[in-house]
Symmetry: C3
Subunit: 461 residues, 3 copies
């Protein structure tokens, strides 16, 4: 009981070929699936159940006993039952003393109970060593063997030896145990399988809000205005033209918002003269979702690229090109090549291509398996140097696209500027402030602050 598997072997080599019996309380779906998997991995398994008659669903090779009997046969007991039935364990307290109790339960809602199921179990059966594990694995995955999603099994518990025993079982089942520390982590582990992309919530909501705002903005300027004043039906702009305005705008704003918190943090540190005070909460949260913001921005930028590349295939664009050429032909005149236009058109396209290319590179380096293979210096280099270069290129792309239209009054329909002008506000602020911050007179004290120097040491908490 007090030996983990490797010690068992070292001290008692004659038993080294046999794995220890594991007891499972509960013959429901998950209990049976786990039992079957354990038998396949060479563990003798006994089930503890209210009705001790062996059902045809119990995996072959397992025996069913009453809870008390089954518990006595094993050092590890896996509780595959729901929290509301845990009460039946109280009378078994004496039998469970010193045993390892593995809590695999999940809840239906995040933070459903004040304390985690595993902590509740530890209070109910104080003599047992409670370990939280297996709650992130689904019965279906165990059964079918198709572990396409994560093979990680989060494990936590106060007793290190008990945790080690459970982690050995996890490894033997072909899964990857991840030690999450003491039983205090159980709440988080129980919430984990209920989460649906929590880090992505804010970036996605923000991008949807921006999308909605710019959709109506562009609808007013580009569809309703010509319909009202020129009686032209451009409603089909909703399919491609307007999305192709919204996407680059949202992408550029989100990209600027990735770098804005870093700039704000630098200003706060400079103002406070120390790095040893916490940032405001909103800034901390913002900084933690920068990667997700950047990836959502990349998604919008990719859509912009696709929308742009199909332009020449669009029926409307072909019609417009044809009618321009025909009217020139009928007027018997040929326009000469406008070199300035050629320069503007080519350089805005080239800036966009290079910006998008670097953006995709940034996205690739944020893949978990790639970022795991770079050191901190390389990661910083990519995310900071290449990141700012991307922002500069994309901002320049938008500025050159505007060209000399900024001053033309025809760009202001209903006094509304072109949407892309609005998208330039945040990137320009970030770039200007960043440029100021890298001036030596500000960069030097900032570097010293970040190395631990304090202007007014009494400020420290």
């Amino acid at each position: 009981m007090n030996k983990n598997s490797s010690n068992t072997m070292a001290l008692a080599p004659n038993t080294s070929n046999k794995r220890e019996t594991v007891c499972i309380f509960g013959t429901g779906d998950f209990g049976r699936a786990l039992g079957r998997k354990m038998i396949q991995s060479g563990y003798p398994v006994v089930f503890g159940s209210r009705s001790t008659q062996t059902s045809s669903l119990i995996p072959k090779g397992a025996e069913v006993f009453s809870h008390a009997e089954a518990a006595q046969k094993a050092a590890i007991i896996i509780l595959a039952i729901q929290r509301q039935h845990y009460n039946f364990l109280i009378p078994l307290a004496e039998i469970l003393r010193g045993k390892v109790l593995v809590d695999v339960s999940n809840n239906l809602k995040i933070n459903q109970y004040p304390e985690s199921n595993a902590e509740y179990l530890a209070q109910l059966v104080p003599g047992a060593k409670v370990v939280k594990a297996f709650n992130t694995v689904s019965a279906w995955a165990l059964q079918s063997g198709t572990l396409d999603a994560s093979r990680q099994v989060f494990v936590c518990g106060d007793d290190m030896e008990a945790k080690q025993m459970v982690m050995d079982i996890v490894r033997a089942l072909g899964l990857t145990p991840v030690d999450q520390g003491s039983l205090l982590a159980a709440q988080e582990i129980e919430n984990y399988p209920l989460q649906l992309f929590p880090m992505w919530k804010f970036p996605i909501l923000l991008s949807l809000a921006l999308t909605a705002f710019f959709f109506f903005y562009c609808l007013a300027r580009n569809v309703i205005y010509p319909y009202v004043y020129e009686n032209k039906d451009f409603s089909f702009f909703i399919a491609i033209s307007i999305p192709n305005r919204i996407c680059p705008i949202v992408a550029l704003i989100l990209l600027a918002l990735v770098y804005l918190p870093g700039v704000l943090a630098a200003i706060i540190q400079l103002y406070r003269g120390t790095k040893y005070r916490r940032f405001p909460d909103w800034l901390d949260k913002w900084m933690l979702c920068r990667k997700q913001l950047g990836l959502v921005a990349l998604a919008f930028a990719s859509l912009h690229v696709l929308y742009t590349l199909v332009i020449p295939i669009r029926s409307f664009v072909r019609w417009r090109l044809g009618s321009q050429i025909i009217s020139q032909a009928l007027n018997n005149k040929t326009e000469p090549l406008n070199t300035t236009n050629a320069w503007l058109s080519d350089s805005y396209l080239a800036l966009g291509i290079l910006g998008f290319f670097l953006f995709v590179l940034l996205g690739i380096t944020s893949l978990p398996s790639v970022s795991n293979n770079v050191n901190w210096r390389e990661f910083q280099f990519v995310q900071s140097k290449l990141g700012y270069l991307t922002l500069i290129l994309c901002t320049a792309h938008t500025l050159v696209y505007g060209g000399n239209r900024f001053l033309s009054p025809s760009s202001y329909r209903w006094y509304l500027p072109n949407a892309y002008m609005l998208s330039l506000i945040f990137p320009c602020i970030v770039l200007v402030v960043k440029f100021v911050l890298i001036l030596p007179c500000l960069d030097k004290p900032l570097t010293r602050i970040r190395q631990g120097w304090e202007r007014n040491p009494q400020y420290s908490e």
Copy 2:
């Protein structure tokens, strides 16, 4: 001998700096490469060989002895020889008693022998503890250190302590041991390095068959028909136009085939009233290769995107556009903008872009390192919700592309409908059946069945 490395240290601290001697039988390529790597990692290495004279190829620091002598010097013996020479071990049985014998051998064909090499070895030398390992690593990789492919070393064996010792060595060499269970797994481990994308075989063969069928179908309709009836030479359609018809068709059919087995499984479960009976074998196999089917579909969709985007650069398309414009100019008439056409053209392009975008997202989440970082709820959400949305968008893209051509008799050359009409059959079936299945009157019993409820409990096996 009965201590694994960590225990050795704990119990005998004065030896803690030394690794245990390892013996290698066989001085061939693999044996020498493994020996060199082990010496680099701090293991004393002795070779067992028929001729005991040290060759210049033996790595520096290793000694060569007769098999019997070498075996006596180490607790672990690595057999770097081929199965057909294993017989020489029989006379050494007494010396090998209790030793760990590591079988690294590979075969030339899958399932070449009735039992795995490691099991054969265990029968030959019953007193030894046989462990299968290292067969997935190549001599060249060990030598050059360029472990670009997998660093995983599959290990199996009946003796857990022996397996632990081998896994410690694997770790010390900078590789990742993966415990595959008892020696029964040796057959699978020996087959592993001989496999060539086994899960991809069916999806790729299916896609090639579909490609061949639709190639000849389109050839007949689009090249041979105009040649026969209109005497026009459109043979150059073979390069881009026909591939660009085949790719979207195959992609859409394969995408529908990803979701068809799930729908079939639901119907079978509803009909049987239980989830506790196995699906037919073909359905099980189909369900296991859905990821590969989806990725092949994504490859075809990507080709379709590339083929589509180069359309305006094609010499033929430029010629056609030019001659249309010229004929309009010569006839002195300008066509007005056809808003319906603009709507159809733009919305079919927009649907295609959004469908492809979601498809790529699905592909990215199926990367091993990404899917390892999501929980089951997130994985299900992406693969099921986003997956169906992708299927709906791609089907709608094809339907709108068709537009009102479905009814036009000119679309039926030789009574053959346009190829894309054929591609709509499977997606429409899947979507209609899925729609029926999410009606409450069917969804409720299905959910209950999937939670373990049975209509006729006697059905259970």
Copy 3:
């Protein structure tokens, strides 16, 4: 002291819930961040410092003592101080005898000192067991918990037990320990965080040199020549037209350079008649950076694709198309379809699409998490078979693009051939030599040599 954590538990179960005290020398940024993280993970932490007064910055729960006192309270001492201050440890030698000393230091330059900091420490305090660890983790990452970059902690040391103890701590902090062997590896571990993509240096420098050369080459031919002889201003070609010539050329040359060393190695092996002699150093280095060469080539190919796809949107291209059509319309003639041109244009585009598609596939399989999931046979198949197919397709794409322009004298401005002709030299050499090498008369001896056969066994070293 001589027990690692798992043994502690096994032998002394009553202490199994408590982690061992850890001592940290140094209360700087990194020391404090590490201390805070360890306290969170359940380790009692004491700090050793010159001034023993508890500052407000010391993490809650930790105590501060003099160096000597602190060292006596723990079996593991983490040295979070810089190498130049190590001298103060000499008087503490007696107290440190038998303790585990963890060196976390980093240098400012690669190979700054003749011996690594950890080896220097081991010389200073010969009685202690020195382990190198944690130097790849940043204080900021520990503090903020945002371990987006690598979670790998490289560990090395001569004492295996001490190393095991440190690796247990690493695991408990939620990081991944990677055993790098003996203390000899410390130099490499200390250099690791200072590296900036060392494997990428040569491929990127080479590609930049090629880019510069071809930029001026194309500038001369396509901008300066027409300006001098035809007085036309094509300076805007610098934005897109010239990059779109440079990118495919550099991509094709780099792709050929990926396969050239393999071909050279085969020739050397055939000539020497043995595989047991080392290749020249430059060839070894070249072979080791083939993956990086290939990925840089893929980056250039991707840029080429983007530059090509925006062609029809360019203002210059639209103007040229329009003026061609207008001049035809004004001359009242319509050109018939040129089938040969249609064939050439379509097949060069189709070859390019297929080549790029396979190239992207190669790139995806080189992602760490993907290549970790394939066996050697599959990896070889993809990188060799698919790789050569990619090279063939891309070379054919360039050849067909040239079409019959190779012989036209107008292609030779200032006696300079078109840039793409230069790009064909390396790929054609590689393909021709490879074709010769797979002739049976050369392939057979080569295969035998690679299986270990030697023509003149005396050649072996």
